[in-house]
Symmetry: C2
Subunit: 119 residues, 2 copies
Amino acid sequence: MDSAFEIIAEPNRRAILSLLATSQQSVGEIERQLRMPQPMVSKHLRVLRESGFVESTVDAQRRLYRLKPEPFKEVDNWLAQFRRFWSAHVDALERHLDRMNKSTPTKGKTTKKTTQPKP
Amino acid sequence: MDSAFEIIAEPNRRAILSLLATSQQSVGEIERQLRMPQPMVSKHLRVLRESGFVESTVDAQRRLYRLKPEPFKEVDNWLAQFRRFWSAHVDALERHLDRMNKSTPTKGKTTKKTTQPKP
DNA sequence: CACGTATATGCCAGTTAGGGTATATTAGAA
DNA sequence: TTCTAATATACCCTAACTGGCATATACGTG
């Protein structure tokens, strides 16, 4: 289990990563927020640590875990080769998504001007 | 094995997807390019098809496989929550990566102008 | 030191995915 | 229809991952 892809294949690990995306957390905090048995949390954290997704620092008896960027970049990098492809299909999706977006304007880059059928 | 993440966890499947990123391919073409036994190709293609990563059309006895965008977007979407985080670290990596990039200029967005020490 | 909290690790069991090989299916050609 | 090419499927086997539980380790406190 070496590639970043296999690491994020596990749902609980993705959940942990999502938690850490907000801010660093101790094992116990993760345990409580995800309602996951502690040994399980520790084991997944080990996998995440050994694959470079997270790092930890000591705080008394606690260990504080936080994200590390590299593996994410690796995934993103692989994904890049498909961006060109799926963005060709976005036009169709765009209209659909525009209806849902309205709340999170993100970057305003995809907002081209699809005739704006709703003024 | 349902989530898009588990699908792309498999290296051979990622290889197939990368192949298809260029253009659609028949099973035999994939088989030859990846030097993979034909039943293996078919099995992986089945998984990719059932998870929505690819679709196929019939061409005589051949089946032509091509990508479908949705699952990629799903992955990209999950990744999005970490972008803010890792882009804070990019500055440090940028210099390092620029040395390797030189061959694949991709978008010319990260190519800022890091003093170019080697003309 | 004894004790409690926080975290890590070891061991076991169940499951499942992936590879290999043989075989079935589908479609075109002779 | 028979033969051949292209692709799909079935079956078996092994390896590996995940979860659960018990226990070990680390650290602070009284």
